[in-house]
């Protein structure tokens, strides 16, 4: 969209052509009281220097993980991002390109998407992946819709311990597609699967689980896929991509669809977005998979080339029958994830995951010995995030933390009444022993 300022001459020409004296004459049909309300009281114009100074002052009021030691998680994490990621995605060939419409002309973009898809399949241990989606939450909602499409059923069983933000997205998407969301029971910070066989009735299309869950606990998924498949339902698993450096993959658990929030894969937290929806599935389901898919082929001369494949499933051919409304992808973020994964490799990802595990357990252990603090789910395995019961209100700790340059965690009372008095803390590979010890010292004052 272009906004072109009119010169007084141009404006006069326009008004003459319409046949009015002043611009306001065009608004005579609108009652004066409304016009009065619409008047925008703008300050005087600023010079470029003044404007940039003003904006810089506003920006300086933000707190970010550059200057503050972060124990914040809950879906967006302070992982290390190698400089190469930002350098490469900042190249104008990638940075300014939108998802390709005249796809095959953009061989470079298609190849980068193809690499991203291949890396996603390796990471998830799944057979097919799409070119990415907007974020983890919409990817999970799409997985639920896809499951209903395949099984021709209209209810999904959802773990109550998936991220509350993701749950909101599910409850926005699904009822509007006439899909009912039914919650599984929970027990001691984990999903309770003991009654799963009875809960999967004739109309259950899928069981949706997040592991590690919102509280950080690793779900025990032993035998789950068998119980779900017995009832002809789909097993949809939402995972933390970094955790796959050491934890069992969705493919290993027998998931039919595996999705993830890709932010930990080289993408800045950026106050909540843009993030990345990672979406993968079993090959047999590929025709029901939403989004774009890039394939590798050879041209007439036998040279390698990349193309969009299975396009017939997509909106532009089957508009009115499309099962998903996504025709796009999150190209730049998918590229960041692909670069991150190829830089880290199997060994690097395992190292990052192991550091997350060790660091978080070190902090948890230190906190559990502090007077007044306790770990309500201390006996449940966790990966990089855990719940802490605090002696004073979490808000008090969070506020005091800011003054000492700590993001102390997330106040779980914001989400559920029975979670009041609890902080959710995340520890990534970036936290040093020193930072963790300073933080424990800070907490010991409460």
């Amino acid at each position: 969209m272009h906004t072109i300022p009119n010169t007084p001459e141009v404006e006069k020409e326009l008004l003459d052509a319409i046949g009015v004296q002043r611009f306001e004459d065009l608004l005579v049909d609108i009652p004066k009281t409304f016009l009065e309300k619409c008047r925008i009281h703008l300050p005087e114009p600023l010079s470029e220097l003044e404007a940039s100074r003003h904006l810089q002052n506003l920006a300086n009021q933000n707190r970010n993980t550059e200057g503050t030691v972060s124990f914040l998680g809950g879906g967006a994490y302070d992982h290390f991002i190698p400089a190469v990621v930002d350098f490469l995605i900042g190249r104008s060939e990638f940075y300014t390109a939108y998802t390709p419409y005249q796809a095959e002309v953009s061989q470079g973009t298609l190849q980068s998407i193809y690499e991203y898809q291949s890396l996603t399949c390796h990471l998830m241990d799944m057979e097919v992946a799409n070119a990415s989606m907007y974020d983890g939450a919409t990817a999970l909602a799409e997985a639920a819709i896809m499951s209903c499409g395949i099984t021709k059923k209209d209810k999904v069983l959802v773990s109550p311990l998936i991220n509350p933000g993701t749950m909101k997205v599910l409850k926005t998407y699904l009822p509007n597609r006439n899909i009912e969301v039914i919650l599984l029971p929970e027990k001691n910070g984990q999903t309770d699967f003991s009654t799963l066989p009875e809960l999967i009735d004739e109309q259950i299309a899928a069981v949706l689980v997040q592991s590690p869950n919102f509280l950080g606990s690793i779900e025990d998924l032993t035998g789950i896929s068998g119980k779900i498949h017995e009832k002809n339902a789909m097993f949809v698993l939402f995972v933390d991509p970094i955790s796959l450096g050491i934890l069992k993959s969705p493919g290993g658990w027998g998931a039919d669809i595996a999705v993830s929030e890709g932010q930990p894969l080289g993408i800045h937290q950026s106050f909540g977005g843009p993030y990345l929806g990672v979406f993968s599935a079993k090959k047999a389901l590929v025709r029901n998979m939403p989004g774009r898919i890039v394939g590798q082929t050879v041209d007439v001369d036998g040279k390698r080339g990349y193309v969009l494949v299975l396009q017939t499933r997509e909106q532009h051919i089957r508009r009115e029958k499309a099962t998903s409304n996504i025709c796009s992808n999150q190209g730049l973020m998918a590229l960041a994830a692909a670069i991150y994964l190829s830089l880290m490799g199997k060994t690097g990802l395992k190292q990052a995951a192991t550091l997350c595990l060790n660091n978080s357990h070190y902090l948890a252990e230190k906190i559990s010995s502090l007077k007044g603090f306790s770990l309500p789910y201390g006996n449940v395995p966790f990966f990089k995030e855990f719940v802490v019961e605090t002696p004073v209100s979490p808000k008090e700790i969070i506020t005091a933390g800011l003054a000492e340059n700590f993001f102390a965690g997330i106040d779980l009372g914001n989400y559920r009444e029975d979670w009041k008095g609890h902080l959710l803390m995340a520890v990534t590979e970036k936290r040093t022993r020193k930072e963790i010890e300073f933080f424990v010292k800070f907490l010991s004052k409460f």
Binding site: R287, T312, R318
Partner: protein
């Protein structure tokens, strides 16, 4: 263009071979030719009730996707499993190995509104 005289047809280019209260259905030689190389067929589910004109599946060709409409009302009693791995059978032998499903007919009078081979030949003229 091959239009066998023992079959009945629809304007949407499906055919039906009636035997007693059952019908074997598929798409016509003309339809497969118009679609081009068929790469995938989404088949109906055995036991599904169908009404005349309902979509009972989709045919995916290289450049397009088309619905398969049931020529008659009834119940799906068999599907051509071979198409799951060899959709191209519909290109090769649309009236034979490329059949799509068998339907138990619930309203035999519906066959009267279908086209004869002569009428269909005229339609695709």
């Amino acid at each position: 263009m091959n239009v066998p005289s023992d079959l009945l047809f629809t304007k949407d280019h499906e055919w039906a071979l009636i035997s007693g209260d059952e019908a074997k259905v598929g798409i016509t030689e003309y339809a497969q030719h118009e679609l081009g190389d068929i790469v995938y067929i989404e088949l109906p589910v055995v036991g599904d009730p169908v009404s005349k004109g309902d979509s009972i599946g989709t045919i995916e060709a290289v450049k397009t996707v088309a619905d398969i409409y049931s020529p008659l009302s009834g119940e799906i009693i068999e599907i051509n499993e071979a198409l799951k791995d060899a959709a191209e059978l519909v290109n090769k032998d649309p009236y034979g190995e490329g059949w799509i499903a068998r339907i138990k007919i619930s309203d035999p009078s519906e066959t009267k509104s279908m086209l004869t081979s002569e009428e269909y030949s005229k339609l695709i003229g």
